[in-house]
């Protein structure tokens, strides 16, 4: 089992739809305008949230976000044949790591996790999937 973060465009940048929870948490970010900027913000995010698995960063055209309808956050499981095995409902309401855990247990009972997720991307979904 492998976990990857796909870092996409900001959900609540201060130049668009700022969120009160981010203000309280001291998170204040503009929309990213260059890939380097987006990668830098992604690095800060991974460090501060203690996310231990590797990350890729969506391009500025947001092409991967569009292909997966992933904004503001979403979870997918891709099987060995490259097909979608699980697709969460759109976040934040549908971002449920425990459903990923259940899916993995059902579909891939003999698979072992190579990297346990340290945390989720969103505070409302802090319960990391228990992959065993």
């Amino acid at each position: 089992m492998a976990f990857y973060v796909v870092y996409i465009e900001e959900a609540h940048p201060i130049d668009a739809w700022q969120d009160d929870d981010n203000i309280k948490a001291g998170i204040s970010l503009h929309s990213t305008r260059t890939l380097s900027e987006r990668c830098s913000v992604a690095g800060t995010c991974l460090t501060r949230l203690g996310i231990a698995f590797p990350a890729v960063v969506d391009d500025l055209a947001n092409s991967t976000e569009r292909a997966y309808t992933a904004w503001p956050d979403r979870l997918y499981v891709i099987d060995r044949d490259g097909r979608v095995a699980y697709k969460s409902k759109p976040g934040p309401y549908g971002f449920k790591p425990e459903q990923v855990s259940q899916t993995l247990g059902r579909l891939f009972p003999k698979t072992r996790a190579t990297m346990a997720p340290a945390t989720s991307m969103q505070a409302e979904a802090v319960a990391a999937p228990a992959i065993r």
Binding site: P54, T69, V77
Partner: protein
């Protein structure tokens, strides 16, 4: 009684229009959606059935069983570009989409 009926019907009609407008905005790109939402008062989240509308608008076309769309993206450290296909060796892959905010 007739006046009351008119008021109730008007409220129902207005509510339907508001729900339809919210759904139409949710179908827009995240950028357009955000630009509208920054002007919407918080009370809208209490009054409107935001969650079911959101689930419908953001369902997406990708279905379980479909081939996962390929991508070729920079790693966070910008040292290399990786493809989805390169993630898949013999094990399934969990993709966690999100951002800091």
């Amino acid at each position: 009684m007739r006046t009351l009926r008119k008021i109730v019907l008007t409220v129902i009609l207005l509510y339907g229009i508001l729900c339809g407008a919210a759904l139409a905005v949710m179908y827009q790109t995240p950028e357009r959606f955000s630009r509208v939402m920054m002007h919407v008062p918080d009370v809208a989240f209490i009054v409107l059935p935001f969650k079911p509308l959101w689930f419908r608008a953001r369902a997406g076309r990708l279905q379980v069983g479909d081939p996962a769309p390929g991508f070729s993206l920079s790693t966070q450290d910008q040292k290399t570009t990786v493809q989805l296909a390169s993630f898949r060796t013999s094990e399934p892959v969990v993709l966690v989409f999100g951002s800091y905010t």
